[in-house]
């Protein structure tokens, strides 16, 4: 019977030549991104760019957990929410600055992950998926029902934006540099992690727990660390989100978004470094593009998803390799 384990599809090698170019590619992409606010036609597009960068943090951190770490989590949007509400509530209720809210969000989300991770990471595959799904569902119930704290179904209102030297970063253009910088730091941190013994341990545990334990890796602790780390990153995204939108509501952090994030990791290319960039673009841009088609939007989205999943098992990031393979087959 087929088991429900994640098989990290393509893992990047540690070959020195490739490593430099990945680092270099990251810097290059971010330099190009830096020009976005000046090149994009209007503020609406810049707000999309901000959203895309926040989604990137979410998808990249989930990719770290799923694509490299081999763990299924259906609670990622829930941790996103924990971060958003933590940072937002600290600001609205206690007047705490978003700059303090950001690390607090990471902490709260990380704690939330620890709480569920310790019992749940002993489980595998579909059991872990179910446990994280249940956890997300519980979190949503709390987001919705603790009205005094969270604002309930109507959402948390009146969240202040980030401010620098007394100036509020309350427009899309003004907040872009911060979102741009934080997303870059998260991607860089992930890259550095993967290029270290910790990253190799994570991938080893994902591939083969028995082999990993044999060389001295505490597999449970490794899994827990990645789980908490990825949740903390989602928390950071949450803090950015709540102070950019000055608002948060429970449905952004529910099971459906959690499922979609998982799908985006796969569509971008699980276990690849730049896959999340493609996933974030798809996740952000496609609904916007399809808005014109109204009811058919959903159908086209579903169709598109199926096409990618069936034709490109390595995700969008795997397309160049898939094309290369197809060309080679044609030549032979």
């Amino acid at each position: 019977m087929a088991t429900f384990d994640v098989h990290p599809a393509e893992m990047q090698s540690a070959a020195p030549a490739r490593r430099l170019s990945q680092h270099g590619r990251l810097v290059l992409v971010w330099l190009v991104l830096a020009t976005a606010p000046f090149l994009l036609p209007n503020a609406y597009w810049v707000s999309l760019a901000n959203l895309a960068l926040i989604n990137l943090i979410l998808i990249a951190s989930l990719n770290l957990l799923m694509g490299y770490g081999g763990q299924i989590s259906l609670a990622h949007a829930g941790f996103f929410g924990l971060g958003a509400y933590a940072s937002g509530i600290l600001n609205v209720k206690y007047g705490i600055s978003p700059w303090m809210g950001l690390p607090a969000a990471a902490l709260v989300a990380g704690l939330g992950a620890l709480l569920i991770g310790i019992p749940a990471l002993r489980l595998r595959g579909h059991y872990l998926a179910m446990a994280t799904l249940g956890w997300n569902a519980i979190l949503v119930v709390f987001f919705t029902q603790l009205v005094d704290l969270t604002g309930g179904p109507n959402g948390l209102l009146g969240v202040a934006p980030f401010s620098l030297f007394g100036h509020a970063l309350d427009t899309e253009m003004k907040i872009f540099p911060l979102v741009w910088a934080v997303a870059f730091l998260v991607m860089l941190a992930i890259l550095h992690l993967l290029r270290s013994r910790v990253g190799r341990a994570v991938r080893a545990v994902a591939t083969n727990e028995l082999g990993a334990e044999a060389v001295g890796i505490d597999s449970f602790r490794t899994k827990l660390v990645v789980f908490v780390l990825s949740a903390a990153m989602a928390g950071v995204a949450g803090s950015l989100y709540v102070h950019v939108n000055q608002y948060a509501s429970p449905e952004t952090f529910g099971i459906a978004p959690s499922i979609m994030l998982l799908v985006m990791v796969a569509i971008g290319g699980a276990g690849t470094f730049f896959g999340p960039v493609l996933g974030a673009i798809v996740y952000t841009a496609v609904p916007q593009v399809l808005l014109d088609y109204e009811d058919a939007e959903l159908m086209l989205f579903g169709l598109g998803m199926l096409v990618v999943l069936i034709l490109f098992p390595g995700g969008l990031a795997g397309i160049p390799a898939a094309i290369a393979r197809a060309l080679r087959r044609k030549a032979s």
């Binding site: 591939t207 060389v215 890796i217």
Partner: protein, 258 residues
Amino acid sequence: MSATLLEVTGLTCRFAGVTAVADLSFQVKAGEIKAVIGPNGAGKSTLFNMIAGVTRPSEGAIFLDGARIDPLPTFERARRGIARTFQNLQIFREMTVLENVMVGRHLVGRATTLTAMLRTPAVRAEERTMAEAGMALLERFGLAGRAHQPAGALSFGQMKVLELARALAGAPRLLLLDEPAAGLPHAEADRMAQTIRGLNRDGMSVLLVEHNMRMVMSLSHDILVLNNGRRIAEGSADEVRSHPEVLSAYLGEEVEDA
């Protein structure tokens, strides 16, 4: 004389109404190669898995350098200097050959999650030395040419060598080899035996489970023979070879290359 490195006392393993290993006691001396042999179902794998930490003993104790290790999980035993290979190969197929060996050196590294993310100068230096040490090991085992290929692309024999290299990467004191010759053609099995002998000459202590009698007889300083979970003979190759109980235990069994 030679100090006792590994000691097993009264080791018993019972599950599902079957006693796989019963009241077994023996020692592995530092610097020796000890083989565990016996017909199929004799309890060799169970014994091996108990020493490696994969299976919990029902009774008895295991000591490494006089310290009890049987309550410890596998990764703790690795930290104490025990390395092992697997009968069914547990290499990391999607990682490169070099990365497999570098993972073997996991315990030598000092990078933490935080320092790794920050990529401190110490971490950068550690990565360099780990890669160098890994390449050196691969050179020694003739796999350097395939360093950046995925481990899954290697031939079966090469994978066995890789797993051995990975086990050695952490500079262990005791090597547990689980059927190192299994699945290898004669020439490669002989090369494996040579490699093990070379390691032992450099001071490595080895405990191996093996069916290949040629390898066992030529390599081992001491041989432990199991049948039905109990010791039926223990001694040098000559002593074991002519032992009446050993011969009768193997009657009706296909003995490879004896």
